[in-house]
Symmetry: C3
Subunit: 140 residues, 3 copies
Amino acid sequence: MPTFMDKIPLKTRGEGDIRDITKQVQKITQKSGIKNGLVCIFNSGSTGAVTTLEYEPGLLVDLPGALERLAPKDASYQHELHWHDGNGHSHVKASIIGPSLTVPLKNGHLLLGTWQQIVFVELDVRPRSRNLLVQLIGEP
Amino acid sequence: MPTFMDKIPLKTRGEGDIRDITKQVQKITQKSGIKNGLVCIFNSGSTGAVTTLEYEPGLLVDLPGALERLAPKDASYQHELHWHDGNGHSHVKASIIGPSLTVPLKNGHLLLGTWQQIVFVELDVRPRSRNLLVQLIGEP
Amino acid sequence: MPTFMDKIPLKTRGEGDIRDITKQVQKITQKSGIKNGLVCIFNSGSTGAVTTLEYEPGLLVDLPGALERLAPKDASYQHELHWHDGNGHSHVKASIIGPSLTVPLKNGHLLLGTWQQIVFVELDVRPRSRNLLVQLIGEP
């Protein structure tokens, strides 16, 4: 049973930068030779998240807006007392959305909806270099 | 190593319709012949989510209540400016809960808790036809 | 293709007790003999959640703080009318974070970030005994 791993390098602009990584995941899937099984997309880090979203300009504003209700930037965070890096709210949001997404694969195709893209949500306050992991597992 | 995929068709009544799909996932698991491994339940679409919940009438009101705090229906959504379909809040909630759930499988049994059911959470504002994907991977 | 399952027993102190289980997951991974693939950590139960977090004292306060905004303890919950166990808010938070986390494995190593730990988030109002499930699947 084969497994296959590759990375998606990203340079983000910091907080609120949401990136459509669907095409990169599809390319890695094709390269893998795995046709049926699961694809896991994972962010190694505690201030970014992976989920799906209809990737259109309105929601790129609306999703950060809702996350701001959950963990407002100007609230008080204990994380700040230890680290002074101003990103306590980033960590909290990342843990609630989660770093991991698992998508089924059939005949080499990711079974996403028509208006559903795989996205990385940058939540950290400064630009970051990310290497998202894409792990496939299944049958050739 | 075998993989197996099947679908769960659902006709939902729209926003706030939470459906217990545990039995359907169990039936597909039995049909698959896979005994040990992982089951991934996935919503192909950007306005519904998959998670677990104690499926009792009170929580079917309480979960939508908390999601309303996160993304109130009557807040302003940029998604509306582009699409005019009144479901900006639906997309936001779906992305935060997430479209995917992965459950361990042992000796053919889903290892859920006694009061834990697998649920689909319809978040769109209108009734929808859904085809949830159930992907198994593991050992016979 | 091998699969391997083991459990992590935990005795929690109740609501807001967040536990770093990274070392336990690493030990199970080593014991499994599986080198490349996926590790799924799952909470069998509807009042606890699994995610990742930078495990430092500040965020152990900040994450519960944000969850309290989402589902305040002193709000009214329909769950209470049926069960009178005072944990309606616990269920809601658990469903939104989710019971399951999937992490890629390479050459026997969990591919976490330097400041990223796997955590169990106890959300129930009383101390609980938990048995987290760790399911591995992949190549030896």
